[in-house]
């Protein structure tokens, strides 16, 4: 019995996402230790809520990073802001427009994704610079549309995003459903195979009949759509769209991919790790908070964790 347990833990530990979850559990326990175990449920529920934002954008970024070196979407924050702004302005607090509002947000994502891809394809520029210049445009568009006003989300939407179902926050349910869907695509579908082939060796994939351009286009578009969905949810959750609401998600989206054990070199990603990374990012912050450490230490710890994880994951040195 004990033997089988050890086997199971051993095989778990070999999964790339194991360490993110283990570290999250540790941070969770360390936080509860301070409060003598009180407030565990509240902490968990908060962690699930906030992690779901990072997880949804992280899954989009993960798909893009799977495409291989040089592929990264820097326009995620701008897309989030633009989608949140436009949707909230359109709904203007009217509960009846919740679904059309969602449609607007998703359309923004679709448009942004198409624009990003077209820049990459037509201008033949590295995705980093394409999504970067596009993000400048989106950001301006959001500023111009919003004019600094903070429009409240419809009541229903605000309630939904802050509410929970059977003890599980609604946002977490959405995040988990999207993760399951992402997992299915990545691990079980033809598209996932093609994506991984693209990331490992694009030329070989093309020569094996993979429609590489479609794979790339769909990947960038789904990343932008996931970002826009997050923007919509985040704006509703936090009581209105702010112009800088996406800012921190640029780094977080990349960070959760790396912490989750996906390869930054492409071709090898996993979805559970995104949730692990997202939880860890939040739990580390709350742990340090509860120990009375300020924002500075929190940031330093986050950075150190990211660097330590890639340094440990790389594992291979090279001759001087």
């Amino acid at each position: 019995m004990a033997h089988r347990m050890a086997d199971m833990i051993g095989s778990l530990a070999r999964r790339p996402w194991f360490w993110a979850f283990a570290a999250s559990a540790l941070a969770f326990a360390a936080t509860l230790y301070l409060t003598d175990g009180r407030g565990g449920g509240g902490l968990l529920s908060a962690a699930l809520t906030f992690a779901s934002f990072s997880a949804i954008v992280g899954i989009g970024q993960m798909f893009v990073i799977t495409l291989g070196p040089g592929n990264v979407d820097l326009s995620i924050p701008a897309t989030m802001t633009l989608a949140g702004t436009l949707a909230l302005k359109f709904m203007d607090g009217a509960s009846s427009l919740v679904l059309p509002g969602l449609g607007i947000a998703l359309l923004v994502g679709l448009g942004a994704g198409c624009f990003n891809y077209l820049l990459i394809r037509l201008l033949r520029i590295p995705p980093i610079i394409a999504t970067l210049s596009a993000s400048f445009l989106y950001q301006s568009l959001a500023i111009w549309w919003n004019r600094g006003l903070r429009i409240k989300p419809p009541e229903v939407l605000a309630e939904f995003t802050t509410g929970s179902f059977a003890g599980v926050p609604n946002l977490a349910v959405i995040g988990i459903v999207i993760a399951l869907f992402g997992w299915l695509i990545l691990e079980r579908s033809l598209a996932g195979r093609w994506l991984s082939a693209f990331g490992q060796n694009t030329r070989a994939a093309r020569l094996s009949g993979v429609p590489v351009e479609t794979v790339r286009a769909v990947t960038y578009i789904s990343c932008a759509v996931l970002a826009s969905l997050t923007g919509y949810l985040l704006a509703s959750f936090s009581g209105g769209a702010a112009l800088n609401m996406g800012a921190e998600y640029l780094l977080i989206s990349i960070a959760v991919v790396v912490i989750g054990g996906s390869s930054i070199a492409g071709g090898n990603s996993n979805v559970p790790g995104i949730w692990g990374g997202a939880l860890l990012m939040f739990l580390v912050v709350s742990m340090l908070n509860s120990y009375g450490l300020g924002a500075g230490v929190r940031l330093i710890m986050t950075g150190t964790i990211i660097i330590a994880i890639v340094a440990a994951a790389s594992g291979k040195g090279r001759a001087v």
Partner: protein
């Protein structure tokens, strides 16, 4: 005969570099197997051998890039002392010109000289570097049109090769004493190659030493004072150049077109060949069930023609359940293998759109496909779920064959697929290709080995990117292929290559 010392009769002075019993292992592969050789001032050593005979490994050991697994290597420094190690190789005046260019394309010609020449610092270094490289270029390739201020990336391949050769011969703070030239003339035209050979002779006459590797036998006989023949990581013959004949060198390498292949090429069955299924703008054509060979010297446009054809018949945007063309890569690392995946996933990739049920990949069907091809093509592995990189090169190649053949594509394009594949696997692959052709599949097969080309129903010979001959039936002989591969020179002499030595007499 593994022992090889200096230039025969004449008593050599202290050798510049001495290799004794050097072996290099890459995993299970013995790239170099107990090689001893030394080279002295004034010598030009011609190194000959087939692909994979160990020439490049030997050269890399000599220039310090590789440390031998066993055995030792010793350099004689300009002051007469001896030393070992990578830095000693440089300091003793050894320079290399590699097949793959080792210039920085973003720098200018003179800036590139800065990398090997450590003394180029301080004010006025550009002037000195410019003079130095220009002098060297003028000496070797008089009449060249290269300026030291040109960016290397803007030069033609031939000009880059010239710059590389010139900077190897250019004297820096320490004089150049031994230059290793690995296929230096591959991208040079005849007159420039002639200039280089003249310079090599002059350099050796002036007390320098050169190791010259080339597939062109006449070049080797032109400049070498001694010839070493390599095979399977060993030096199997080492004599002064005068003691060899070109025929003798070929015999030493043991390259003979097997009777087998000759016989099989006669066993053609024209019955199975149907109507024409493809014709490309450059004139490549094939009929249903036909095995069409692309021949000629390596790098004369065959691979490009295949890629162009493949890309014209396959899209990068649509999902295709029934592809028209499937591709078998020869350069496995670049064009074929997906290194993170299992054998099964590598094998099923092209056929995968057919294995989708309700939006998801049907795992059981994929497994069945894998098992079928495992036994059909004989992939030697315990489980198809093992990583592809756990296989030997030959078995990886089989998986790539299976990837293409498992698809329903009626045309299969093969880009020199037998590169680095053992004889047994080759035989199995030949059988497989014939069986598939009998089942009305069309093959476009580029090969660098005449033996393989001779098995085709029709052969297109490429020269300078164009088709120079179309051969079919009894016309497909090594002689005909060779004469179409080479441009006859004024001397009336047919140049040789490593692969096509036989007809070069």
């Amino acid at each position: 005969m593994q022992q090889a010392t200096g230039a025969g009769e004449q008593k050599p002075d202290v050798p510049l570099v001495a290799l004794s019993g050097a072996s290099v292992h890459f995993g299970a592969v013995r790239a170099l197997d107990g090689v001893s050789l030394s080279i002295s001032p004034g010598e030009c050593l011609g190194l000959i051998g087939h692909n994979g005979a160990g020439k490049s490994t030997a050269v890399n050991v000599i220039n310090g890039g590789l440390t031998p697994t066993t055995g030792r290597i010793e350099y004689t420094m300009p002051d007469g002392s001896t030393a070992t190690g990578r830095l000693a190789a440089r300091a003793s005046g050894i320079r290399s010109v590699f097949q793959e260019l080792s210039l920085c394309p973003n720098l200018t010609v003179l800036e590139n000289l800065r990398i090997p020449h450590r003394d180029l610092t301080g004010s006025g270094w550009r002037q000195r570097a410019g003079t130095r490289i220009l002098q060297s270029l003028d000496t070797i390739f008089s009449g060249h049109r290269i300026k030291p201020g040109m960016t290397v990336g803007d030069l033609t391949i031939a000009e880059r090769q010239m710059v590389e050769i010139a900077s190897a011969f250019a004297d820096g703070s320490d004089a150049t004493r031994l230059v290793i030239l690995d296929e230096p003339t591959s991208s040079l035209d005849a007159s420039i190659a002639r200039q280089l050979l003249d310079h090599v002779r002059a350099f050796c006459a002036g007390g320098g030493a050169v190791i010259f590797i080339s597939h062109m036998l006449n070049e080797i006989f032109d400049v070498a004072t001694r010839i070493d023949v390599m095979k399977d990581g060993k030096i199997i013959a080492s004599r002064p150049a005068g003691d060899f004949t070109q025929k003798g060198v070929i015999d030493a390498m043991g390259h003979v077109v097997g009777d087998d292949a000759q016989k099989q090429s006669r066993d053609r069955d024209p019955e199975r060949i149907g109507e024409e299924v493809l014709r490309t703008p450059e004139g490549l054509a094939a009929r249903k069930g036909e095995i069409v060979g692309l021949a000629g010297l390596a790098g004369h446009g065959q691979a490009e023609a295949l890629a162009r054809f493949y890309f014209s018949r396959s899209g990068s945007t649509r999902r295709v359940r029934a592809p028209e063309v499937a591709f078998v890569a020869g350069d496995r690392g670049r064009d074929g293998v997906l290194p993170l995946w299992s054998i099964l996933r590598n094998l099923s990739l092209t056929h995968l759109p057919r294995l989708v049920r309700r939006g998801l990949v049907d795992g059981a069907a994929e497994q069945a496909l894998g098992n079928e091809w495992k036994s059909r093509i004989g992939i030697r592995t315990a489980s198809m779920d093992n990583p592809i990189l756990s296989l030997s090169g030959g078995n990886q190649q089989k998986a790539l064959f299976a990837r293409a053949l498992a698809s329903t594509a009626p045309i299969v394009v093969m880009d020199d697929p037998m590169r680095g594949v053992d004889v047994g696997t080759k035989r199995e692959a030949y059988d497989l290709i014939r069986r598939e052709a009998a089942a009305a599949r069309t093959f476009l097969w580029y090969s660098t080995e005449t033996e393989e080309v001779c098995q085709c129903d029709r052969v297109f010979v490429f020269r300078n990117g164009r088709i120079s001959a179309e051969l079919s039936g009894a016309e497909i002989t090594e002689e005909n292929i060779l004469s179409a591969s080479f441009e006859m020179q004024e001397t009336g002499e047919v140049p040789e290559t490593g692969e096509n030595l036989e007809a070069g007499r």
